[in-house]
Every structure is written in C-alpha cells, then in structure tokens.
Symmetry: C2
C-alpha cells in the first residue's frame, strides 16, 4: 500500500491507509491510546489499542496502517485540517525510536531561546517554528520571481574575497592556503561588476559580519537578497524597485502562507501607494520635535530613532514602512554617489519596517576617476580594488541597487523578538551550533 500524506487523509474516509510520521503526542485512556501523528503535511489523530501502541512515545518515527473514520461530533477539532477524521490503527511499526526529550515540544513557549537553539534539530519540528521557515521560503521565492519578471538575471557570486569589502574591522579572516582572505561582508562589488554585464542582476548571498556584540538584530552570517540595476535614469528607479519588491513580498505571503501567518498570529505590515519618505535630517528633526531627543547632528539614526520614526510613519502615513534617504557622505561606503545638490549627503536610502532597517541601497559612483579618487580618500589602496575598478575603467552606466536582509524582513513581518528565530542555525559571537563557551 502506498503512503498517504496526512493532509490527504480526509479524502480517504472509510478507506484503509498507510501513514508515516513522527509521534507528536501520546495520551493514554485506559486500553485506548490517542496518538497525534505528524508528517510534513500536517497532524492526524490516531486511535490505537494500548497493546499495539506499546511504549511508543514522542518523536518516535512510525508507520501506521488502519482505517480513516469520521470523528464523533463532540471530538471534531476545527483548528486542524484533518480535525473531522481519525485513523483507527490496525498495526503500528516503529521505524526509529526517540530518546526522552529534553523538554516538552508542545510547551516550547516555556523554553528559552538559547535552549531551543541548543536543541535546534528538535525545536525546529514544532509547527510554529517550522512555519517561520515556510514564510522565509516564500519571501525568497517572491524576491526572485518579482525581479526575474522585471528582466533581472540571477547571478552567483563568491564569498571568499581578497579584500575587506567596505572597510571596517568587522570582517572574518580566512586562512587561504597560508595567505589572508576574508568572508564577504556583501556581494556589493560583484553585483556592480555584473551590472556592467547583464545590466540588471540579483543574487542571494551569505553575508558575514564579525559583530563584536550580541544583539537581537545582528548575526554573524545572514542571507542578503541583493539587486543591482544599470542604465537608471534616476535613483528614483532604485527606490521604486525596492518598494515594489517589498510590497510584493507582503502580497505573496498573504496569498501563499495564510495558515502560517494565522498560526504565528502575524499581521502584514501596512503599506500605502506612496511609501513615506524622509531625508535623514528631516527624520531627526521630527524625532526632536516629537521626543525632545536632539540627535540632529548625528550621522545616523539610532535603533531608538528608527523605532520612533516608524511610529511617526504609521501615525501620520498609515504605513509600516518608510524610506530614509540622504545619509551623510562620510558615513557611507566610498562608492556611494553624492547628491549633486548637496555633496555632504548621498543618494542613499534605507527602508525601515516596524522600527528596524530591512533594506539599504543607493546609487553608486560610475565614473572611474571619481571612484578611484574616493578609494584613496577613504584610505584604501587602489590595487586592492583592481578587479572592481576595472568594471568602471572599461565603461559603466549609471547604476545602483539595494540589499534586503532575508531574516530581518521575516522577523519584522512575523513580529519575532530576536533575529535568530528567523535563522535555522544562527551564528553569533557566542554560538556556532554549540555555545562557544565550550572550548574546542
């Protein structure tokens, strides 16, 4: 007999089926045992005699044959897609046993995140945690499909790089055949080079940051969804594209993940036709007027500022996302295009969503001499950027792009407390699978 997936069992009423999965829970009622069986498609109630259910308990992998029956009306579980049926087990075969669990998988809200991460292979099996990664999958698919539809080419770029991409010390060093190499902080240079080849490109790339502290917003390795587009007439096109990508993600999730969103009690961020937009200095002025906090001379928004300006956007513009533009030239990477009207500031932008930056982008310098000068001005050696600079030496159109943090957008959509919850196996200063207090 072929395996029947649990989600399909209601279509087999009165029929014999063979199902397989993990025991999600066991409840003993004298001679009768209720098992909830879980497979990738759903949950099914199984009724078995205590004889054939023996010592089967949580997370045992089993194969059960029996008949699909209608549940007594009083037993119908409306919250479950299979809630109107149950399987009357005839045989149960143990495929794989499980040791006693370190915690009750059905009560994970009582378990701290570090412990959930210590037991990630187990905690990931919880339906709410699984749901996060079905949402992440849909976010990524949406990003790719939308840009492909707009004529972007998907590219694959390396992560071992010869130079610390954007300067800064937060870069991991690799022993590369006895020489120094680094893990890329972003695919920036490569996607720009490729804008000189395919004009419009996107890539999914792992980004590495040796964050020297543990926060709820940072990890050492994360997934960037990067896009870059050449022959722009104006940097407005970059923002329009980023805006459309984000809104399309929200729309896609509503269509593809309603069950997960309900399960996780998530409400989609509010958007409006014209997403609110402020220059950074304007945002600081508004924050000052709303809170009295005078950060108007700061070169960036603090996390507190980001939350405040998002609150403003929601109150005044009914939007959970906002563009902040024109960050100071000195604080942005050397390749960022200055605003021709005010060279102290750049044609750069972040998108904040519910208090957190989820996108950063901008127009790049495409003039070779200016770029070369900036490399030097920022204190770098041009020879370390030789390959990158070639793209501009041999003709590059006006171009720009953006990077969307995959885990960050998932965190903000789902209202997760910690970015780590949006990563299957998060890495930070204190953990790579194991806690790093443990010496190697």
């Amino acid at each position: 007999m072929e395996r029947t997936l649990i989600v399909q069992t209601p279509n087999f009423l009165g029929k014999e089926v063979r199902v397989k999965g993990w025991v999600n829970s066991r409840r003993d009622h004298g001679a009768i045992v209720f098992l909830d069986l879980r497979d990738a498609s759903g949950l099914l109630q199984v009724v078995a005699s205590s004889e054939i259910a023996e010592d089967i308990t949580d997370e045992y992998v089993v194969e059960i044959e029996g008949q699909i029956k209608e549940r007594p009306r009083s037993m119908v579980n409306a919250a479950l897609s299979t809630g109107q049926v149950e399987l009357e087990a005839k045989t149960i075969k143990v495929i794989s046993k499980a040791e006693v669990l370190p915690f009750d998988l059905k009560e994970i809200e009582k378990v701290s995140l570090p412990v959930l991460l210590d037991f990630r292979p187990l905690s990931l099996r919880h339906e709410k945690i699984k749901a996060i990664f079905k949402v992440e999958e849909a976010v990524i698919e949406s990003f790719r499909a939308f840009l492909k539809n707009r004529g972007f080419t998907e590219i694959q770029v390396p992560t071992i790089v010869p130079t610390a991409t954007e300067g800064g010390s937060e870069v991991f060093k690799v022993d590369y055949y006895g020489k120094n190499a680094f893990l890329a902080q972003s695919p920036q240079f490569y996607k720009q080079i490729m804008a000189g080849v395919f004009e419009k490109v996107y890539t999914l790339a792992h980004l590495y940051r040796a964050e020297p502290s543990v926060t709820t917003r940072h990890m050492s390795e994360f997934l960037g969804m990067d896009a870059e587009m050449g022959f722009i007439e104006s940097w407005e096109e970059i923002m329009e594209t980023a805006d459309a990508v984000i809104k399309n993600i929200f729309k896609t999730l509503e269509q593809k993940c309603p069950a997960q969103l309900t399960l996780l009690n998530a409400t989609m961020p509010l958007v409006t036709d014209k997403t609110p937009r402020l220059k950074m200095r304007e945002a600081q002025e508004i924050i000052f007027q709303r809170t009295g906090r005078d950060n108007r001379a700061e070169p960036d928004l603090s996390p507190q500022d980001e939350r405040e300006i998002c609150q403003w956007a929601k109150e005044t513009g009914n939007s959970d996302i906002i563009f902040i533009t024109h960050y100071p030239t000195k604080k942005r990477p050397f390749y960022t295009q200055e605003d021709p009207n005010d060279p102290e500031y750049t044609l750069s932008f972040d998108v904040l969503c519910r208090g957190l930056e989820i996108v950063t982008g901008g127009q790049r310098i495409n003039d070779y001499q200016k770029l070369l000068n900036n490399v030097k001005k920022w204190g770098n050696k041009p020879e370390n950027f030789d390959l990158y600079l070639q793209a501009f030496k041999y003709g590059m159109p006006p171009e720009g792009g953006f990077c969307l943090g995959a885990e960050r957008i998932v965190k903000q959509i789902l209202g997760l407390e910690n970015l780590r919850e949006a990563s299957l196996f998060p890495r930070d200063m204190s953990r790579i699978d194991f806690r790093l207090s443990r010496e190697e």
Copy 2:
C-alpha cells in the same frame, strides 16, 4: 523619449528611438562610422557620421538617438536578431568612457584563461562568456522548480561551521572571534537535520574545499545544489530523483536557452529512459576488459576511469550519463548506509556525465546508535557532532539525498575545458580575483 531595448528595435522600423549600451565595435569607412551597440538584450548596428561618432570606441557607454531603418539587402546579417535593421544616429551622447582595452574583446579565443580571469569584468561582457551564465541561471532555476514541484522545501543553511564536516584536511579555517571555525565542505549535516523537519528539502549552498592542487575540475569555492529526502522506501527513490532532476535540466535548457546553446556550439548530453547503472566493481571490470588497465582493487574510479566508463555507456547504452553505485564503505563518509547484502560496500552513487562526476549521493544511516558508533569508528569525537546526532537521537526516518555541482554540470553540458569557465569569479589555490603570487 523612453529607452528602447535593442532586441525590440526591429519593431520600430521607420521610427525614432533612443537606445543605450556599450560600443561593441567601431569600423570607420571615411565619413561614415559603423558602431555595433550592445545592451543586455542584443546587438544593433548603428550608422553615424564621423563627426558625431568622434573618438567613441570599444566599451564606451553611449546613448544614441536616431531612426531605425531597413538595411540594404546586401548588408542583412542573418546571424543577428536585429540583422535586418540599423540605426541611423542623429545624436550620440557619451555616458561613460572606456580606457584602451587590454585585448580585443572580439578575439578572446586568442586570450588565455588566466588573462581572461585577470580582466573578468571585461571578458564577462563577451556574448559567449555571458551565455555560459545564462545557461547556469537556467540550470539552477530548473533544479529549484523541479524539486519544489515534487513537494521539497527550500532551506537556507550556514557555511561557517564548528567542525570539519566530513573529516579530511581540505578545509578552510576561519578566525571566529579568536576561536577556530571552518568553512563548510557541504551542507550535508544541515540538510539531513532538515529532512527530520520538512521530510524533503533542497538548498543551494556554497561549498568550500581547500584543494591543494590546481586542476581543471576543482575550485576552492563552488555551488552545490543539494537535496535530501526522508521516508524513502528504498534508496532507488534517491537515484530516481537525481536522474529526473538531471534530465529535467537538459530538457529545460533546450527550451529556455536555444540561442546560448547554438552560440556555444553545445549539444545536449544523450539520455535514455533507463540510465545505465553499474556497481563500481563492475565498472572497473569493464574498464579492465576494454583497456587492460587493472584498477579492480582501487577504492574509487580515477579521472581516466571515469572517462572510459562514460565512453562505454555511450557506446553500449547511447547515454552520456551513467550511475556508478556501491562505493567501498571505507572510502565514503561515516554517515553512508552500508549495503545490507554486502557491508563492504555502500548504498551510494555518483552520476558521471561525459567523463566527469556531476552528482554524488546515497542513503544515510538513520539509526542513532549505528551513526554514533560510526562517528567513533571514523576517528571523530561524538561531542563535535552533537547537533547533528540530535536529529537521529530524537527519531529520524530512512533518508538520503544527493548533491549536484552547478558549475560541473554547466561545464559538461557546454563542453567547457576548465571548470573555472563556469564560475563568474573562480577561486583556487592560485587566485582570488587576483593572482595570489602577488603578496598581500
């Protein structure tokens, strides 16, 4: 006036257009200059007066306005999709200049691969080199779409790992906040863990191998297309899936990339309904009988053996792909399932295509105790595999999977001489963008 993409210009006969792109070539004929203009969509012949074409030359980025005209019949270029038209330029605006090129981009067959890689941002602009990466894009899309359609979930797994995945010394070390970490040789452990969550998963992951030599078949960083599936009834299901994935890639390319395949003079590998399959020992016996080369006691096939057995498969089975199965237990990783009928050999397989391994896969041990014993037997410390082992401690179905090398399948389909040609920015012992002879 809106920009017209070059591919669309034949639809604008007699009309004024504005096109943008790179100057692919310039030919002077007295007062008349012919420019071939290139954008992401194609090539267009432009006719201009020498006055307005001035000193415009190869790789200049320009914007040209003018009228689309029919070419004189003697000038029609059937090899070009725009070959029946040309643009009579009225104005040419230089967007970005280019310095003198280090080689003639139209004669790259005269340039060595190392030099092409030294000038990658430039050489990637050549239509034949670009075509390789449109093929790669289609290969990757085909892999994802096929498995998604079969109910696989896409997952994202980390590349910084605490333990050298499969043993061996060919692993890159990362300075991780003063502690040792490594770059993953494969996403193996994580995809297996996730088979315990979503049953069927796939992931695109960068694989890192500190290959101690430079060959035409290896790189230090490459792209693995990995799949893993739980609740298999037999390891035949894994091979069936791998076989179907490969054949679907070939079919997809024929549909989506006919122009690229023609340009690169590629012929699709031959396949048959039932792909030839040999045990490794059978293959060695055949090789011995065909060539007299006695490698029958060797634990693996040499590159020469791989080419020979592919030749046999083509001659006798009309197939450019072949499954080689049952590699020796001692030579496979500790997690490989033994053949119950002959524990000296494993339920493992490679797929060879035109003389090169493009897939490796097999069934895994899903019994916790047996896996734990093997970790020790292979000389590893169980505590270094704690997270991985948890997945089996808490119940794991029979499962297995495979990894398809993205660059390798592209190389074999297109008949490229060197694997590096199938990587935008290849890394090896002697190069990370730059040649490594140059000291940092």
